[in-house]
Amino acid sequence: MSDSHGHHRPRPESEPALRAAALEALLVEKGLVSSDAIDAIVELYERDVGPQNGAKVVARAWTDPAFRERLLADATAAVDELGFGGAEADTLVAVPNTPTVHNVVVCTLCSCYPWAVLGLPPTWYKSPPYRARMVAEPRAVLREFGLELPAEAEVRVWDSSAEVRYLVVPVRPAGTDGWTEDALAALVTRDSMIGTAVPAAPGPAS
């Protein structure tokens, strides 16, 4: 019988990992890429999307009525104008808040989210309680987020899907006349574009 002098090789890396390492070594040797450049690209891509894109869309809509009109008519195309088109064939729909209508977005089935404009969804967006309760009792949930809506305001809950995703366009806060787009964009939070918050009006420096 065979004895037990097995080969104690280190645990092998996966085959594609070895291929990738060999290819990288070759490209570096040929001077075609540097490992630092690859690091930089990977790091950049992992944090490329964020709510700042959506904030710019909203700020543009606040300052440019023609853009707002295009955004509400076809948000996918309007967002693309600013260079924030997502991959895939997702349809983006912009839903505008007014003094009497408050929109809020949920995905009851899973966690569909307009990531091309809002980046990655917050954990609570994916949580079963949010997904279930936002439909059943939106006012109560919004109150828990600290958002007390006037009794006369109508709450509209939008259920995202893989095909259609929603971006809430909040009401421009009072006291921001003459502000630049950049300054306005800084007021637009992620949650205000999901509809669980509204942008804070600028107050006296606090």
Binding site: S14, R19, A21, V33, I38, V42, Y45, V49, G85
Partner: protein, 103 residues
Amino acid sequence: MSAPRPGGTAGLAEVDAALAGLAPLPRDNGELVFEEPWQGRALGMGVALLAQTGASWAELRRHLVAAIRARPHDPGESAATAYYAAWLDALEALLADQRGAAP
């Protein structure tokens, strides 16, 4: 639109636009899926290579789509592993093109 990028390399939106429909990057609700570090390196190598050699996204996409179609389906392999293994195939094919075109 986003943070400064290393010289001339494509932003993620450009990559998405180039691959849309045919060979989109694997994502989980927007977040790129890299199950192992080599998958990110495969993507990064491709982007860096195009910036450096001037090869076009159309060429890379053509090789990538061909590689995805040609790869035997392995039920034990995750979608991201299969996808980025096809990237490696495509990068090798792109390099072979360039060798062929070299004087």
